[in-house]
Amino acid sequence: MVKEECKALLDALNKVTACYRHMVLTIGGTSDSQNLREELKKTRQKAQELAVANRNKLTTVLKDKTVSKEDKAEFERLWVIFSTCLEILEIDMRRALELGHEFPLNVPKKHLIQTGMSGGTSGVAARAMSVQNMKYEAEHNIDVVDLKDLENEINQVGEMMYEMEMKVNVPQWTVEAKQDPGAELKSTISVGASSIGMISVEENKSFCDISKVLAGIIFAAVLIIAIVLAVCVVKLS
């Protein structure tokens, strides 16, 4: 089904954009390294491929006049998600370019900002590229070499967005979101173990509430059983 394919492609693009954002956040910090720059390059190229694939699929569907009204509304919704994703990707790419210029890695005088990060981003990159482990094969001055390519790719993305605006006429504000506010809470499960040091104590409180309710129920059950037993004893004796 076309809808499922579109959704899958969009999810993939969304995932790659999120990973790219994580990586751009680390540029200039102590986790920055040649590997990071290579990861950025690969992620960005993957994102572009996905973006082109998405665009082709969605434009063919939206230009198709035989699509039903509900389907069309659904595709317009997907289109809005796609264009917003692409906007965020473009902004991140521009920032990556600027930060890349500001923080060249091999210059001894320019020191990286000590942001408190010590680990690498290879896990994030692996997630983006959908591989188990990342392989690093680039040269040692990729941080400088890559910037030219990055500029060209930014221009490409810009042109693609412009073409999209011109070809497909979807007014963004007419799309209604399917998810209600707070929808993100329903599907994600336990968080507790992963966050350390309790940034706030509030997390504890909600946890306690649930356990309190459980304790109350158990207590009530025990009490009822005790009363029933006592009545039986009284009756029998």
């Binding site: 020191h111 000590q114 942001t115």
Partner: protein, 470 residues
């Protein structure tokens, strides 16, 4: 004002392992997070590097924290630099403030959604409000916001625990600066952005250079006044107007803001019966003062009528009305003015030279607000050079000067109003004031018609007298 690029250079210098600031490790429960710096160390480093006074260094360091280059670890909402051992950390360059990268609503929505996931729905009050407001504002993007929030959250799990904690702190610090909670000082609230971003690194292409060359060429050709001349003019103006300035020389009867006594405003109303002496004296300073004061214009008009040049001032007033009136009535007003003042044989014909008349008539074919500017300037200069001098020596002006009132100074009432509140009456409604002005104008128009009709009647009578004796 967003900070300069040089702050970033300083930030990078602070990282130097030899000459920069020494870092410590922050201990959070069981993990150690590196790269924490003490507030005192930051302060000392700034002091020593920039060679400034202690006060300045403290202020500068404080600004660094307020703008989000450095964030405090233990008390994140208190964005000040404390010169003791309290710990801070450097913000990642992505989150540094810059005019070209303003904090985006979509990003904020994603951040709040992520926080929602992490804290299982427990957000602070102001964050909840923002969340709901954003949901309404960017509702069409909401699906994307939620998708992206979930993905960013999951991607974050791929990082080491300590890094995740540091990332959380960074993001929180960034949004505390860019979306300040109520009660905190919003450093970034400085009004509108400048049109040009001074920190933007523009690529110098040929077009940019061409524009620069054009700009500098025009700048060279600009006529300039010597500063000695302009300063002299400024000094003369200040000396002349010093006695009239209500703040510098005190005002009579009393400053309403201090004594709560609005007499000053009543006595200096636009078209008051008897103006104050200082006001009338000001009309003698220069012609502009006279013509900009409605009472002065009224008095001047009286004088001009006696000289039979009242139509000049009326024409000037009509032009002002055209310039500052409704756009929809521009055409209509321009035609009326032409019929009344400029057409050959008009009722109140004004005397302007041939070239100006030619320009004006041509312009009136396509009337706009400023079509009568040339004629208005001509008449203005005529009145200024000719009638103004005579006016100042005339009995009309001298009478007004004699009649002018010098109000008594009122003493500031001591606060005996412990139990009673002074009845403050409101000033008259602008609608009523406007109506009064219109009535006054109409009355004046009626009055002038009389004179010209009288003149024309006299003319006709003399003509008739000439004829019968034939």
């Amino acid at each position: 004002m967003l900070p300069d690029r040089r702050v970033e250079a300083l930030m990078m210098e602070m990282q130097n392992p030899d000459t920069g600031i020494k870092t410590q490790t922050q201990r959070v429960l069981i993990t150690n997070i590196p790269h924490a710096v003490a507030g005192n160390d930051i302060f000392q480093w700034i002091l020593q590097r920039l060679q400034i006074t202690e006060e300045e260094a403290l202020h500068l360091g404080d600004l660094f924290v307020k703008y989000g280059y450095i964030y405090p670890l233990l008390d994140p909402k208190n964005l000040t630099l404390k010169t003791d051992g309290s710990l801070y950390r450097f913000q990642t360059p992505y989150f540094w403030p810059a005019q070209s990268w303003p904090a985006d609503d979509t990003d904020y929505a994603i951040y709040l959604a992520k926080k929602n996931i992490k804290r299982k729905g427990i957000l602070e009050e102001y964050e909840k409000e923002h969340y709901n407001m954003l949901n309404q504002k960017i509702n069409y993007k909401w699906d994307f916001v939620i998708m992206q929030a979930k993905e960013q959250y999951k991607a974050g799990k791929e990082r080491k625990k300590a890094d995740r904690y540091a990332l959380d702190c960074q993001e929180r610090a960034y949004w505390l600066v860019n979306r300040t909670p109520p009660g905190m000082l919003d450093v970034l609230e400085y009004g509108l952005d400048r049109v040009t971003d001074p920190n933007e690194k523009k690529k110098k292409t040929i077009a940019v250079y061409r524009r620069e060359i054009m700009y500098y060429q025009q700048a060279i050709m600009k006529t300039r006044v010597k500063s000695s001349v302009s300063l002299e003019g400024l000094v003369k103006y200040s000396e002349q107007f010093l006695s009239n300035d209500p703040i510098l020389s005190g005002c009579l009867p009393s400053n309403p803001w201090i004594t709560d006594d609005p007499d000053f405003w009543d006595l200096n109303a636009k078209l008051v019966e008897v103006p104050t002496r200082t006001r009338v004296e000001r009309w003698a300073f220069n012609f502009n003062e006279l013509i900009r004061d409605p009472k002065g214009r009224q008095n001047f008009q009286l004088f001009l009528r006696k000289e039979f040049s009242g139509e000049n001032l009326s024409f000037w007033e009509a032009c002002e009305d055209l310039k500052y009136g409704d756009q929809s009535k521009v055409k209509e007003k321009a035609e009326e003015i032409y019929k009344l003042f400029l057409a050959p044989g008009a009722r109140r014909w004004i005397n302007i030279d041939g070239t100006t008349m030619g320009i004006t008539v041509k312009g009136l074919q396509h009337p706009h607000r400023y079509v009568l500017d040339a004629a208005q300037t001509h008449i203005y200069m005529l009145m200024k050079k000719d009638s103004y001098g005579r006016y100042l020596k005339s009995p009309v002006y001298k009478e007004m000067l004699a009649k002018a009132v010098v109000p008594q100074e009122t003493v500031k009432k001591s606060s005996t109003f412990l139990f009673g509140r002074r009845q403050l009456r409101s000033s008259p409604s602008p609608i009523i004031l406007r109506q009064q002005e219109e009535e006054a104008k109409a009355r004046e128009a009626a009055a002038t018609v009389d004179i010209t009709q009288v003149m024309s009647k006299l003319d006709r009578r003399s003509q008739l007298k000439k004829e019968p004796p034939k």
